[in-house]
Amino acid sequence: MALNMAVGVTGPWDKEDHLPAEHFLYMRVLKDDIDDEGWPEPRIFRNHTDEHGVAAMSTDWSKYCNPEGTQLRARRRSPSDYGVISLGVGEVLTIPHQAVSHAPIFNRPENPQDPNNRAHTNVLGPKSKKDPYGSVEIRARYIAIVRVIGWAVKPPSK
């Protein structure tokens, strides 16, 4: 712990099992993935497989992050190229086969390609066609949630 404090590190953090339904999950959306009417394309709701083989959609838990923080965490493109959407935890869990799992990231030394992130949360479960049981319905329901809540950080115009 003394070493951690000396370099400004506060982790590692325990994984928390319970995410309250009224909390939010923040997710970046690249401006290129926004449609003619200013909403995210359905394809953004898809899983990425990490180095441990876990297929999930990465988000940030509102308990440890705000939408601006999620935007600033962008690595592949400038943060200003992204908007941020918020998904209610309770709403996500109403979508078939979806599960939410807090998965804080902590590496020492910190990996610049995968920065430490206490808020990091995986949304597990099939989404697109390449996933077993993935379906149009699942992505349509994600879109419906976004359209109710709107943007947490508005994206730049294309």
Partner: protein
């Protein structure tokens, strides 16, 4: 007995005049029953019928000559009440109207009415044909659906994306996939326009997952998402979501090669 029509063909002739081909005289009154007939359609002018001989002559002579040769009983203008008798449709509908009338042997009693309907329909067909169209990669849409055409055109940008365009190994988008998505959009939008006589909402056409293409129609509370797969042998699926009554949402497979205007009817209900 009255022989049913076997063919009605509408083809442009010049900038404003259109001809329908009537293999039989629908009214059995014409003096040249042994010859195929041609109906001359010019909006806001008389609907006239010519025999084949007269038709050929008309191609060589002036409009004045044509008018002189038309028997008076086959001429007539379109009354306002007749003009609105029939809803939208195609030349096939026009043929069906005539056929049905023949088969029901109502021709004699309703002769005048039929003529009025046929004239009205002919004018309507002419109007539809003459409505300016927007063309997008082989598809034609009425100019009223200009926004649909614009979005289709813009969506073609995705065809320029090659493998790994997103840095995540995603495949590019193929022309046949776009063509099928466009066919779905065009047939559904025009089908809705023709059946409801009002413009269909513009679809949103976007990059889907794994080379597929997503098509959406939406209102503030309802959303239809259709996924056209990259592999055209796979099924097209849709899901219709109602935020006001999520329990009433529904989805299934969809035939993209026919008009699915019923989806838009649900969306806008």
């Amino acid at each position: 007995m009255y022989a049913p029509l076997t063919e009605v063909k509408v083809s442009p002739k010049g900038a404003e005049r259109y001809w329908i081909h009537l293999p039989r005289d629908p009214w059995q009154q014409y003096a040249f029953q042994s010859e195929p007939l041609f109906g001359s359609i010019v909006p806001d002018q008389d609907f006239t019928v010519l025999s084949r001989t007269e038709f050929r002559t008309s191609l060589e002579e002036s409009a004045t000559v044509i008018r002189r040769q038309i028997p008076p009983k086959m001429k007539g203008s379109v009354a306002v009440q007749n003009y609105n008798l029939l809803q939208s449709g195609t030349t096939q509908d026009l043929m069906e109207v005539v056929k049905l009338r023949f088969e029901n042997s109502l021709l004699r009693r309703e002769n005048e009415n039929l003529k009025g309907q046929l004239r009205a329909r002919a004018f309507q067909v002419a109007e539809q044909i003459q409505e300016p169209v927007r063309r997008v990669s082989g598809f034609s849409l009425p100019s009223t659906l200009g926004l649909v055409a614009e979005r289709l055109e813009r969506s073609r940008a995705m065809l320029g994306l090659d493998f790994d365009w997103d840095g995540e190994g995603s495949p590019g988008y193929k022309e046949p996939t776009w063509q099928l998505a466009a066919e779905l959009v065009v047939k559904t939008a025009t089908g809705y326009y023709q059946s409801k006589q009002k413009p269909a909402p513009a679809a949103v056409i976007t990059k889907g997952d794994e080379g597929s293409i997503d098509v959406q129609w939406r209102t503030p509370t309802r959303n239809i998402l259709i996924n056209v797969p990259a592999d055209l042998s796979d099924d097209v699926h849709y899901f219709a979501h109602d935020a006001g009554a999520p329990g009433h949402s529904f989805g299934a497979k969809l035939n993209p090669r026919v008009s699915n205007e019923w989806l838009l009817t649900w969306l806008l209900a």
